[in-house]
């Protein structure tokens, strides 16, 4: 489990990015970390990976203080950043050099993933395109079989077939012992995978609920005309409006992650009321 308690963080000479940030991420889930530009998603991922140190408060994962960068902890996590530079070595050299650092690294798994991504299993890494490099890193990260895989904008730079492959590969590697944190702006690429949805805004976690909870408390539908009852969020779509209303029925509705995100950002207080009051009822 990853637990962040009363965490404060700011970059040198800048205002606080996080003030009293609290977050708990359970094991065995694909956490979708969403937020506007500059909300601090990448910084939060870096804090979890031990690359940034909190000013105050703590971030603990699997019993370790992440900022201490303890080798046992580092061998259980893998971070695929949005932008990266790979060393000018051959793929085989990279695998031979970096693979042994991870106790559960599986070469056969890696070859499977590379095959699924239709990547060659040889060649110089710097000769690959950005998308190929990203697919290689994602494959390598998955093959480490780490407890925690952090993916920052994993579908950026991937072509349409690769995004679909990425979804398939990620879905096939989900199990109860692995946790994924996926930060993305392109929610439609992975909206079938992420659960729960975590939304970060202005340095605070304003939403952290599972799809089940969301579907039982919100109703997301497309209508021809805006209804009279209270609409939490609406947007024009082809042939009508996509609207979010409070779900007062017993039945759950399908969840559209992007619409939920927009609804939460636009109507934060009301959302908080709906989710907290229902929680109390539960």
């Amino acid at each position: 489990m990853i637990k962040i308690d009363d965490l404060y963080f700011h970059y040198p000479g800048q205002e606080h990015l996080f003030e009293k940030l609290n977050l708990t991420l359970r094991d065995g889930a694909v956490h979708g970390l969403l937020g506007k530009n500059g909300a601090g998603k990448t910084t939060l991922l870096k804090i979890i990976a031990g690359l940034r140190k909190p000013i105050k408060g703590e971030c603990r994962a699997y019993g370790y203080d992440t900022d201490k960068r303890i080798p046992d902890y580092l061998s259980q996590i893998y971070f695929v950043p949005e932008e990266f530079r790979l060393p000018g070595i051959y793929m085989k050299e990279y695998i031979k050099t970096y693979g042994p650092f991870y106790p559960n690294f599986d070469r056969d798994d890696l070859h499977d993933y590379l095959e699924k991504f239709e990547l060659p299993d040889h060649g110089k890494l710097t000769d690959f395109s950005f998308g190929q490099k990203k697919k290689f890193l994602v494959s390598f990260g998955l093959a480490t079989n780490c407890k925690l895989l952090i993916l920052d904008e994993p579908t950026n730079g991937l072509d349409i077939p690769s995004k679909s492959k990425f979804r398939q590969i990620l879905a096939s590697s989900i199990n109860s012992s692995r946790t994924f944190i996926v930060s993305t702006h392109q929610v439609r690429d992975i909206d079938q995978l992420i659960d729960p949805i975590v939304i970060l805004d202005e340095g605070k976690i304003i939403f952290n609920y599972s799809l089940n909870e969301i579907s039982s408390k919100l109703n997301i539908q497309v209508v021809d005309e805006l209804p009279d009852k209270e609409v939490l969020y609406s947007e024009n779509t082809i042939g009508g409006y996509s609207i979010v209303t409070e779900n007062i029925s017993e039945e759950g509705s399908a969840v559209d992650v992007e619409t939920v995100f927009n609804a939460v950002i636009e109507n934060q207080k009301k959302m908080e009321q709906i989710f907290t009051s229902t929680n109390k009822k539960d």
Partner: protein, 247 residues
């Protein structure tokens, strides 16, 4: 804390292997360039005056300058966000990371440097005999060069973790400024303590008249500091700086 989280020989070996795999190409390019320079310096006097000379002085200068350049770039990845992320998330303790860089830029560099010295001397002697029928000198590697490199390395090693860019230039500049400050400080002290300072010109150096023991004491102290204090001091600073490094 688990001792293996402080140091693990297996992981240290993996880090050294990684370091060599990712950096050996630039090492090979440097060896090629240095060999070319040494061959030219050796053959030039032979072609001009028929007396080839194995360039020992040049070799030592290049050995130290190249080593210090590599040392000042030892931690270059931590100053780059993209490379730093991979470097700092690769499992390993700070002690292992620092030992890896020390072993590669110091121990392995010195061993390879000495082996290279004898190989290149052998090559140059062969060339000299072939072209000019003279060997051009008999040489053995001077241990003082290693001792001095060892100490200077620690300063540049710290600089590599401390300065974000242009580490070599900044270190040389800082060294120059520190040297000037120390010189001014010494001159002022000497004037205060002895009333005067006899400068016998730049060639003659300093003459301290009837206080040779006092200055011998200062010299011995400074020698001791240079040989035994600077190295652990800068290594410790490097370790602490690396520990707090963020990307």
């Amino acid at each position: 804390m688990n001792f293996k989280n402080i140091i693990s020989i297996r992981r240290l070996g993996l880090h050294i292997k990684k370091e060599i795999y990712t950096k050996y190409r630039s090492g090979l390019i440097a060896i090629g360039a240095v060999t070319g320079i040494l061959v030219v310096i050796d053959l030039l006097p032979g072609m001009l005056a028929g007396k080839p000379q194995i360039p020992n002085g040049a070799f030592y200068t290049i050995f130290i300058l190249l080593g210090l350049f590599f040392s000042s770039r030892a931690f270059s990845e931590i100053h780059d966000e993209q490379e730093g992320l991979r470097y700092l998330t690769t499992p390993g303790s700070e002690l292992e990371r620092i030992l890896t860089k020390l072993i590669v830029t110091n121990l392995i560099y010195i061993i390879l440097g000495v082996i290279y010295f004898y190989l290149v001397t052998f090559l140059l002697k062969g060339m000299n005999l072939f072209f000019f029928d003279v060997a051009g000198g008999e040489y053995s590697f001077q241990r003082d060069v290693i001792k001095n490199y060892f100490v200077l390395h620690s300063v540049f090693f710290f600089g590599s973790v401390y300065f974000k860019s242009y580490q070599t230039i900044k270190l040389l500049f800082s060294g120059f400024v520190i040297f000037i400050i120390l010189t001014i400080y010494s001159v002022i002290n000497t004037r205060i303590i002895f009333g005067s300072l006899h400068l016998n010109g730049l060639k003659g150096g300093l003459s301290f008249g009837k206080y040779p023991e006092y200055f011998q004491g200062i010299y011995d102290t400074l020698s001791f500091i240079f040989r035994w204090v600077l190295v652990p001091y800068f290594w410790s600073l490097t370790y602490l700086r690396l520990k707090e490094q963020e990307v």
